[in-house]
Each structure stands twice: as C-alpha cells, then as structure tokens.
C-alpha cells in the first residue's frame, strides 16, 4: 500500500468497495482504489481480470447497455460526487471524465469537427473560440503540426497512430479532470505506440490519467502507480517501482515476472 509521502498526495478519484455485475455475472468484487491527482495510474492484470470493466465504471459507460448494475461508491473529488449513484446523471460525469478507446474511433467527419464536437454539444461557442480550442487540443495531443493544413479533411485519411492522437485531442478539447485510456496502443505499431506513451507522460502533469494496459513494460514505462487486478479483485496497489521490483503479494510477483498471464 502507498505510504509515506504518498499519503499526502491529493486524490482525484476513489472507489470504495466497488462491485459490478454484468447481469448475473459478478465481474468486480469490492474494489477499493485511490487514484492520485495529476499522476498516471495503470491497471494491469491477465485477460478477464476486470480492469476494463473497472475503467468503464469511472465514466458510467456500462449504463449504455441493459442489465448492468453497480454496487459500492466511486467518489470524484474535489466535490465528492458519487459517480455510480443512480441519482447522478451520467452525462454530468462524462463531461468531467474523458475516455480514449482501444481501437481509434474518430467520427467519419473532418479532423476539425472531430475535435470540436465535444465543445459543440456543451454550449454555443463562437467560431474564433472554437478554432482556438481545437488548435490547443491538437497541440496538446502532439498532432497540430501534422494536420494544421488539412483540418477540414476527413479524419479517416489519417494513419492509425494519428487517428489515436486525434481521439486524444478530441477528449482533451473539453478540459476533462480525469482521462481514461483503455489499452490505447494495442492496435498501433511501435513507433506510434512510442509517441502516444510520450504524450501520456507529458499530459499527466495536467490531467489525472488512468490507463488500462496488458503490456507490463508499457505500464512500467509510463505510470506512477500500478494496480494489479485478478479475477475481479484488486490484489495490490502501490508505486510502480515497488510493484515491479518488490511486490508484497505472491500473485503480483508471479504476474510481473511473467509466470502467468
């Protein structure tokens, strides 16, 4: 468990005994996890351990499909709203929590319109403000120089890596407090992967990041904290160095040394 100076780190989100059911399937079992602000927290574990399920609880993605049920609480700070409470409108949460998906999924629109969409649906924005916000987001996603001359061309013409950075820009444009990455580089080649990892490392200074990855080396490279999950339970959570060099749990040690998974 995180100790010492970590205990004084401000917390962005915290789940308390979060359980989740896909219909009758008990997918998450009482997960209590702290997500420190402006740091990158990685969720690792073998296939089916529930890491993506946990991630999608943080922005109420499961609400889109029938038969899903949350138990427990997830608090988003500084105001302490319970993300999974039925009385809380998921739209409100998704306006504060952004998500980047496994396979790049830009809209079949222009590059500009992809980034601008999140802004358009919030309130009427003047064109100049929109232009500025789009440029800012594309710069922050390290994509601006590559697309600044073709903003109004279709997004699908970009390469896989560029599309994923576009999706990151799209998520950044609306100023989220928490940014969720669901295995963002698993569909990309090594060069594109390296660029995205560099981007994530840079972004965490301004946004709290939670990243799900099945690539342990990636987690070791870019995350500050790592949570190891197994069969729907949280096994261990600590500073990344500690998880990889001196884990407290035998299971964690077996996983990070490659003995299974």
């Amino acid at each position: 468990m995180a100790t010492g100076s970590d205990a004084r780190l401000p917390v962005k989100a915290e789940s308390k005994a979060l359980s989740f059911y896909y219909g009758a399937l008990h997918a998450l079992k009482g997960i209590s996890l702290v997500i420190p602000e402006r740091h990158t927290t990685a969720l690792i574990g073998p296939s089916g351990c529930g890491k993506t399920t946990y991630l999608r609880c943080l922005n109420r993605m499961h609400d889109l499909y029938a038969g899903n049920r949350y138990e427990g609480e997830v608090f988003l700070y500084p105001d302490g709203v319970n993300i999974v409470a039925p009385s809380v409108d998921p739209i409100e949460i998704r306006m504060r929590v952004g998500m980047v998906f496994q396979k790049p999924n830009p809209f079949p629109k222009s590059i500009y319109e992809n980034v601008a969409y999140g802004l358009r649906i919030r309130q009427p924005v003047r064109r100049t403000e929109l232009d500025e916000a789009v440029e800012r987001a594309l710069r922050d996603a390290a994509l601006w120089t590559e697309v600044k001359d073709r903003l109004h061309e279709p997004a699908w013409a970009l390469s896989g890596g560029q599309q994923q950075r576009l999706c990151i820009a799209r998520a950044l444009a609306t100023g989220p407090e928490l940014l969720l990455f669901d295995e963002p580089t698993s569909a990309l080649d090594p060069t594109a992967t390296a660029r995205i990892e560099e981007l994530v490392t840079d972004l965490k200074q301004r946004v709290t990041i939670v990243i799900v990855t099945h690539n342990m080396q990636q987690a070791a490279r870019i995350s500050d904290f790592t949570a190891f999950m197994y069969e729907g339970k949280l096994v261990e959570f600590d500073r990344t160095e500690i998880i990889y060099t001196n884990p407290s749990n035998k299971l964690t040690e077996a996983y990070v040394t490659g003995r299974f998974g």
Binding site: N59, M61, L64, A66, I91, R94, M95, G98, M99, F101, K103, N105, P106, F107, P108, Y117, G118, I121, R122, P154, W156, C167, R170, A171, T174
Partner: protein
C-alpha cells in the same frame, strides 16, 4: 502381387465410371434447366418492355405530356396524371418520412426489450404483408368518411404513406444498425446525450441507407393503383388542382390538398380498360413514362447509396 481380383476390380471401376458419367449428365441437364429458366425470365421481361415500347412510343409527344384526358384518344394526354403523381408522391413522403424515421430511431435506440416493443415489431412485420387494396379500404372508411377529408390529394398521400411506412421503417432500422457501437460510445464518452448522439452521428451516418430505402419505397408507391382507386381517384380529370398560392392573406393556400386527384397508373388503367385500341396505345405510352419514373427512382437510390458509402469510413 496377387491379381486374382483384377477383373472384379475393373468391372466395379467401370460401374463407378458409368455412374459418374450419368450423374454428370444429369448435373449438366439441371444446370441447363436453371439457365433456361433465367433466360425465360429475361425473355418475358424483354417481351413486356418491348411490347410496351412498340405500342406506346408513337404516342409520346409534347402534346401527350401537356394535354388532359379526352374522349378522343389522339387528343388525350397525361397532364393531370403526372402532376397528380408528383403531388401525391410529395404528400406520401411527407407522411412517411417523419413517422417512419422516428419509429425506426425509437425502436433501435430507445426501446427496451419488453412486450410493447415486441408488439410493435410484430405489427410492422405484419403490415408489410397486407395487400395494398386493404390499405385503400381502411383509408376509405377512415380518412374519407370518418375524418371527412373526402376523396382528395391529402387522402391519397396519407394512404400511400401508410402503405410504405413499414418499408421505410425496416430500411431505416437496417441503416441505423450498421453504425458501429464504437462510434456511439465515442459520442457518449464526450458527454453527449442520447438525442445528441442520434442527431449528430447515428442519423447523419446512416442517411445513405435511409434515403435509399425511402426512394425505393416511393418507387413502389408510384405504381400503386388499387388503394387509390378504392379511395376514389378519378380518371377523367380535365383540370389542374388549385395553385398553392393565393392573392389574399396568408398568400399560400392548401386548397389543392382537398382537390379531386388522379395519378399515372390510374390513367393507364382507365385507358387499358377501354375497348378501343387507340386508347390502348395511350395506355402503353403512359406505361412507358411510368416505367421510366420507376427506373429513374431505382437508379437514383442506387447512386445515393454508392455516394454515401464512399464518404463513410470506420
């Protein structure tokens, strides 16, 4: 090498070879049969179109397009009929589009899996198989007499609108279903509401399929005769409907919606039912125009589908 079964072997091999020959022959005959059937179907189509063109081409002229029906076959024309078709198609689309697309959006995006949804879906499937003349009977009892709309353009549009509604719903649902869930999730993840997602993503990206389905449904409606006869189309209309404008306030007029109406297939039906052969030629000419309308609409639907497919990638 023990060869005592040589003769037996060669006989059985010979038998098998004979069987194979026979089966190959029947296979060939069967394939030929299938081919012949298709050629027959093609021949019928060509005969039909050929007959139509041969009979009617002589009557196609500017005068034919701009004259009203008349007792004298050579003076008769399709002016009131084709204008009537255009107006009725407009009203049909106005009725079917909001209801059809709205229903499809509800069923695909909003409806939960309960008995109401099942009932609606079964109902739509059934309606698609109801004979078109029954729609005419419904419209006669309901729109013409119960609602006192009379036998007018509005009734015709509503009747055909109801007729093609199941087609529009089914085609729109298929188009909506082809939008992948990743796109929807991306929209929701940005904080969009369900309606925003439908309005900004689902419907625009399925527009190709929706328009294609709509135009194909309208091309069916263009040729519909029976329900409109029942609703009271006249086949001797020697006047145009009221214009949509008027000189007094509010300067537009809806009087034309309540005027008596006729359409192309009804005019053709009327002419082909007459004993005089000259009217048959008129019928053929009207038939050519009708076929052209249908073909143009089908071609339009196909080209729209291709155009939209080129623009959407995921």
């Amino acid at each position: 090498m023990h060869l005592e079964n040589d003769i037996d072997k060669s006989t059985s091999i010979g038998m098998v070879k004979g069987q194979i020959q026979r089966r190959k022959r029947t296979d060939l005959v069967f394939a030929a049969g299938g081919l012949v059937t298709m050629v027959l179907a093609l021949a019928v189509l060509l005969a039909l179109l050929g007959q139509l063109v041969m009979d009617g081409i002589g009557r196609l002229s500017w005068q034919f397009f701009t004259s009203f029906p008349s007792r004298f076959p050579t003076q008769a024309g399709i002016l009131s009929a084709w204008i009537g078709t255009v107006i009725v198609m407009m009203l049909t689309a106005l009725a079917a589009v909001p209801l059809g697309i709205g229903a499809a959006i509800y069923l695909e995006e909003y409806a939960r899996h309960n008995w109401v949804t099942d009932l609606i879906e079964i109902n739509i499937a059934n309606l698609a198989g109801v004979p078109s003349i029954v729609y005419g009977l419904m419209a006669l009892g309901l729109f013409v007499y119960q609602f006192h709309l009379g036998q007018c353009f509005l009734t015709a549009g509503l009747t055909l609108g109801m007729l093609i509604l199941p087609m529009v719903i089914i085609a729109t649902r298929e188009a909506i279903r082809s939008v992948p869930s990743q796109i929807r999730e991306a929209s929701y993840a940005l904080g969009a509401t369900k309606w925003q997602t439908v309005r900004d993503h689902v419907v625009p990206y399925s527009m190709g399929g929706i328009l294609t389905g709509l135009i194909l449904a309208l091309s069916r409606a263009v040729g519909e005769t029976a329900p409109l006869i029942t609703v009271g189309a006249l086949s001797f209309i020697a006047f145009l409907p009221h214009p949509p404008w008027q000189s007094a306030f509010p300067f537009f007029s809806l009087q034309w919606m309540f005027d008596p109406f006729t359409v192309m297939p009804i005019q053709m039906f009327n002419w082909v039912s007459r004993p005089q052969e000259e009217f048959h030629l008129n019928a053929a000419a009207a038939g050519i125009i009708l076929m052209l309308m249908t073909l143009v609409m089908n071609a339009l639907a196909i080209s729209i589908r291709a155009r939209f497919r080129a623009r959407i990638h995921w």
